[in-house]
């Protein structure tokens, strides 16, 4: 079976939550439950505040309720989180293909099945 992954270019995730709501609406999930969840890291200044070097980033993480949008994909569409990601920082595909573009700091891949 092909292993699918979600590649996150985390440097661009703006924390907008579109992936979460898109997922919830696609799957009819109750409020508060989601197949992908954005976590926030920071914000805090690293070292002296005057250096203006901040820890301030987001990372969307697929949850156990992610079903890779299988029925949606069967209609030729991309997973809804990928389509609606406002920063276009999500990519879906076979793990082997995605692995080839794992070439930058903060890029993160989740195996989905």
């Amino acid at each position: 079976m092909t292993k699918y992954g979600l590649l996150v270019d985390a440097q661009w995730c703006s924390g907008c939550h579109s992936c979460e709501i898109a997922c919830q609406m696609e799957h009819g999930l109750p409020v508060g439950e989601t197949g992908i969840k954005v976590v926030k890291i920071g914000p805090w200044p690293i070292g002296d505040e005057a250096e203006e070097n901040w820890q301030f980033s987001y990372l969307p993480i697929p949850t156990k309720q992610c079903d890779t949008c299988a029925s949606r994909r069967a209609k030729g569409k991309v997973p809804t989180c990928v389509q609606h990601c406002q920063s276009k920082c999500l990519e879906f595909g076979p793990v082997s293909e995605l692995a080839e573009s794992m070439d930058e700091k903060q890029k993160t891949m989740f195996v989905l099945n």
Binding site: S14, M25, P43, K88
Partner: protein, 744 residues
């Protein structure tokens, strides 16, 4: 379809089937939601219920993306608390939960009787027509007001302090509205052969990822950063974008004009301006140079909290850039002297020759000019003369034909120069959102004999003031034209569903207009009306539905080609034909023709004597993802992300006042106070607190107006506009903070 427009190829017609679902392509312009007008794909099930809203992958603006609010649009449309039928309440029962369901005919009869009676007794000007945030209703509510005979179309927002100051300022000094060039005017977007990515974008006075200006999709900033664009952020807070900026200028709220003038001083003294552009196309450079010389970076650092070396660095980045653009926002308008602030900021891009240059600032293309009103000829010069504020504030002749809001409130209170007796409030909730000093506004509006409110949900404004309520529709329930400000393109809002007895704003306006002035409303239905509006495009409403979005072909350097003036001459549409750095219109209006800075009042620079009691600088209107202005408080999926109104404060400042994360606090200024939950965060300047706006609790008691008078931060803000009548200090004030406790 007319040859005049460029469109994208659609794989399917605008309505099609997908399995068990019916699918409709359309545009989300609104409510609910903002004034961007994203392309959407709406799904209805076999029962005709609106079940899903997605982004339209064929929309060049969004390429299928959508924010959480419109993804959740079905929850709003289908919400159990929607207003579903007209209601009335006896005037003596205002504020009481004593509503009676009535039919549309009864509602129209009652409204017509009351307003016509006022028109006969006191003149049509005695009825004020007000709307809220910029939406597609402007064309129709203005036509309703003007065909009734009232010149008093307005919004209850002190100084019209949202975009209109910049629109009027740009019109007066350059003859056109300018937008940052993100290739939004081309269906090919960034791939258009003439487009160039800006070397640097300044993000000034807004956080575009959360708050979308009309026609500006915030995440274009990210698209362009990925294409190599650098950013400079002008924002008192450390935002996520600020941490990705080459420079972050943490400006004190309300001091942007000083910052801009100081950058200008550096650019001129270091000879970084565009001599050729200034010589050929600008007027009044020497005067501007002399004014800027009064703002040395050292002096301005004291005023703005921005260190002098950063002011210099920002000026150099702009001055040395091949091309640069400006994404500015409402913070520029929400200061009392908004006009000179906007003038100062835009002048930076003018003298550096970034106007009409690829990746710079471009004149917003316009296809239909109805955003500022439609059918003004129906009003006539006699009534136009009576527009409130036009005598004192001649700049209200630029941009939109609105009455001056602060003067309008005063006129309601005093009956001078004439009495106001009625109000038509259409999709506006001024007691919760845009009105300054909402308790004063409440008292003023309470004087009126008859008030109609049109909205989607019951609101504090409805509970406190309405005598008749008419239920409006969300974008999924109606047809409409979407020619949105910014780089205007032609889209249609396409109906997919019926909810209760609701009617669209346009239908309500058309049906009442036909009763009041049949000659002014010669259409049998809204689609016919839309087709007539579309006459200049050569398309019918149905034709546009099929091909939308339609783009007007646009080129750069239009000022060189005689494309910005109606006489076809090169130059800009101003008295001198140049961009007026020294404004003839301002001079004639008795205003300073050059940009200037005045300390925000109250504030540390203007009222030092108040700082002992109110030691913190306060700013409000912080945007967050899931809610738009006073909307969405009852939308569970959105409220989940922001259950309570927040005040952001630095942990050290909070400790000083004994406040812990999550504490309920009062933020109190000289005029009043509002409740917020404290959120401790190091992104704040230690001298500053910031909070959300637009709060009320729909779950609360309607007879307490859903706690709006405890929650509305505008309790702290007075109705005082700038000298031009534009601008007001919504975002720069002072306050003290203390915990909410039993008995206080």
């Amino acid at each position: 379809m007319s040859e005049k427009y460029k469109t994208v190829e659609h794989e399917r017609p605008f309505k099609y089937e997908e399995g068990d679902l019916n699918v409709t392509r359309g545009c989300a312009w609104t409510g609910p939601g903002c004034h961007l007008g994203c392309g959407v794909i709406m799904y209805t099930d076999q029962e005709g219920k609106f079940v899903k809203c997605e982004g339209d992958p064929e929309d060049p603006w969004t390429e299928g993306r959508l924010c959480m609010r419109c993804l959740d649009a079905p929850e709003v449309t289908n919400h159990e608390k929607r207003l579903l039928y007209p209601m009335k309440r006896a005037v003596e029962d205002r504020g009481k939960d004593k509503w009676e369901r009535i039919s549309w005919d009864e509602a129209y009869d009652l409204i017509t009787e009351k307003f016509m009676d006022m028109k006969e007794k006191y003149g049509a000007e005695s009825v004020v027509f007000a709307q809220g945030t910029g939406r597609d209703i402007a064309a129709y509510i203005t036509r309703l007001a003007w065909s009734f005979g009232s010149p008093n179309y307005t919004g209850f927002l002190s100084g019209q302090a949202c975009y209109l100051p910049r629109i009027a300022g740009m019109a007066a000094t350059t003859g056109a509205p300018w937008i940052p060039d993100c290739a939004q005017q081309f269906p090919e977007r960034y791939d258009h052969p003439d487009y160039e990515v800006p070397e640097v974008m300044f993000i000034w006075g807004n956080y575009p990822l959360k708050s979308n200006l009309e026609g500006f999709y915030g995440h274009w900033v990210i698209d362009l950063m990925k294409r190599g664009m650098k950013i400079v952020t002008v924002d008192p807070k450390v935002t996520w974008l600020a941490t990705k900026s080459d420079l972050h200028l943490r400006v004190r709220p309300g001091t942007d004009a000083a910052l801009a003038l100081s950058m200008m001083d550096v650019i001129i003294k270091e000879d970084l301006y565009d001599h050729d552009f200034v010589d050929k196309w600008c007027y009044g450079f020497d005067e501007l140079k002399a004014r800027a010389a009064e703002f040395s970076p050292e002096k301005v650092a004291e005023i703005t909290w921005v260190p002098a070396d950063k002011i210099v660095a920002a000026a150099r980045m702009l001055g040395k850039a091949k091309n640069s653009t400006l994404q500015w926002g409402v913070a520029v308008d929400m200061t009392r002297e908004a006009m000179p602030a906007g003038q100062a900021i835009l002048s930076l891009w003018e003298i550096t020759g970034n106007m009409e240059r690829p990746g710079g600032m471009v004149v917003a293309p316009e296809i239909l000019s109805v955003a500022g009103g439609w059918g003004r000829e129906l009003l006539g010069p006699e009534q136009e003369k009576k527009r409130i504020g036009i005598q004192d504030y001649p700049l209200y002749n630029f941009g939109f034909a609105v009455s001056q809001p602060d003067e309008t409130v005063k006129t309601i209170e005093t009956g001078v120069p004439y009495e106001i007796h009625g109000a038509w409030l259409q999709t506006t909730n001024p007691l919760a959102c845009m009105g300054a000093d909402p308790q004063r506004l409440y008292k003023a509006l309470s004087k009126l004999d008859f008030i109609v409110v049109v909205d989607l949900f019951r609101t504090p404004t409805i509970e406190a003031l309405a005598d008749v309520v008419l239920p409006a529709q969300t974008f999924a329930e109606r047809n409409g034209l979407a020619f949105i400000s910014g780089a205007q393109r032609g889209s249609t809002i396409n109906k997919i569903v019926d909810i209760g007895e609701t009617k669209s704003d346009m239908q309500i306006n058309l049906e009442l207009g036909k009763r009041w002035n049949p000659d002014g409303w010669p259409w049998d239905n809204v689609d016919e009306m839309f087709t007539d509006m579309l006459e200049p495009t050569g398309m019918t409403f149905e034709e546009l539905q099929a091909v939308a979005p339609a783009y007007q072909p646009i080129e750069y350097y239009r000022h060189e080609k005689g494309m910005l003036r109606s006489d076809g001459q090169p130059g800009f549409n101003t008295p001198t034909g140049r961009i007026e750095l020294w404004s003839n219109f301002y001079s004639r209006a008795g205003l300073d023709p050059l940009p200037y800075f005045e300390e925000p009042e109250p504030g540390p620079g203007s009222t030092p004597e108040l700082m002992d009691e109110y030691p913190l600088v306060m700013t409000s209107g912080a945007r967050f993802w899931g809610m738009f202005h006073s909307e969405h408080r009852q939308i569970e999926r959105m409220r989940h992300y922001r259950p309570w109104p927040l005040m952001e404060i630095h942990p050290e400042t909070a400790a000083k006042y004994g406040i812990k994360d999550g504490d309920w606090v009062w933020m109190e200024g000289p005029l009043g106070r509002a409740k917020r939950k404290a959120k401790l965060t190091p992104i704040m300047d230690r001298r500053l607190v910031s909070c959300d706006h637009g709060w009320w609790f729909p779950e609360g008691d309607p007879e307490k107006f859903y706690d709006v008078f405890d929650l509305n931060i505008n309790n702290t803000l007075p109705w005082i506009p700038g000298k031009s009548g534009f601008g007001s200090n919504y975002k720069s004030s002072i306050c003290k903070i203390y915990k909410v406790e039993e008995g206080n």
